[in-house]
């Protein structure tokens, strides 16, 4: 199983975002480095859930936020490594909606938020067969600045 190292400051941003936006889904980008398969997320950047309609069950990231994320990575010598979002009152398992537009290479970090509190976090990557494979999330608590 692949491993995703998640620095604690990035985890804290994701967790706070999930709690703040509850009962709606939150979303954002993940930045860091992927060297020879060793993937470390050093930054999480929240963005607005641009989905029109019921944001308790859906999220969408606006194109201009995507452009900014790619530019941010290029300008800061980082890699855009994935996306996070929350599943309010649901487990952190990707849905058919998550799979429909999933991209290769990206890590899809999902946090389950139950009654406003982060319950658990899991991460997934699309494999060559077009299905999600889980990657182990290792929180790096020694990276606090």
């Amino acid at each position: 199983m692949k491993k995703l190292i998640l620095e604690e400051k990035a985890f804290n941003i994701i967790a706070e975002h999930g709690s703040t936006d509850f009962p709606n889904e939150c979303c954002g980008f993940l930045f860091g480095k992927d060297k020879e398969g060793k993937r470390t997320i050093t930054e999480a950047n929240p963005v607005v859930n641009a989905k029109q309609g019921d944001q308790r069950r859906r999220f969408e990231i606006a194109p201009n936020d995507y452009i900014k994320a790619e530019m941010y990575a290029l300008q800061n010598d980082l890699q855009l490594l994935g996306v996070y979002h929350s599943h309010p009152q649901h487990p952190a398992i990707p849905s058919e909606h998550d799979l429909k537009v999933a991209l290769p290479f990206f890590s899809y970090v999902i946090i389950s938020v139950i009654d406003g509190i982060v319950d658990h976090i899991r991460s997934w990557q699309l494999n060559d067969e077009g299905t999600f494979e889980e990657e182990t999330v290792q929180r790096n608590i020694f990276s606090l600045n």
Binding site: P63, Y66, I67, L74, V83, H87, V101, L103, F105
Partner: protein, 96 residues
């Protein structure tokens, strides 16, 4: 020359190249030049009818080309063209 920003997930099809420069005058010609240089990218961006895939948006600067004439939109020397994959999802069943 104009720049095309390749989305990170598709860079494995462009030999990890993030930015492609072009002096083509329209989006259509620029993307054709890009996929001709990197043939493996073509099916990721273009559908069987030769049009851009529905889940890929193209922006010039911060503007969607759909409001600029679509694939015939003109691009200038200093324009930045972004290929933008759809990013969306959500839980699978009703909360109620």
């Amino acid at each position: 020359m104009a720049q095309i920003i390749i989305p990170t997930p598709l860079r494995k099809y462009t030999e990890e190249q993030a930015v492609f420069t072009t002096d083509q005058p329209t989006v259509e010609l620029a993307i054709n030049e890009l996929v001709n240089k990197f043939p493996a990218l073509k099916t990721q961006v273009i559908d069987n009818s030769g049009k851009l895939r529905s889940f890929i948006k193209v922006f010039i600067g911060e503007e969607d080309i759909r409001g600029l004439g679509g694939e015939q939109a003109t691009i200038g020397d200093k324009d930045v063209v972004s290929l933008i994959p759809a990013i969306a999802g959500g839980v699978s069943v009703s909360l109620n």
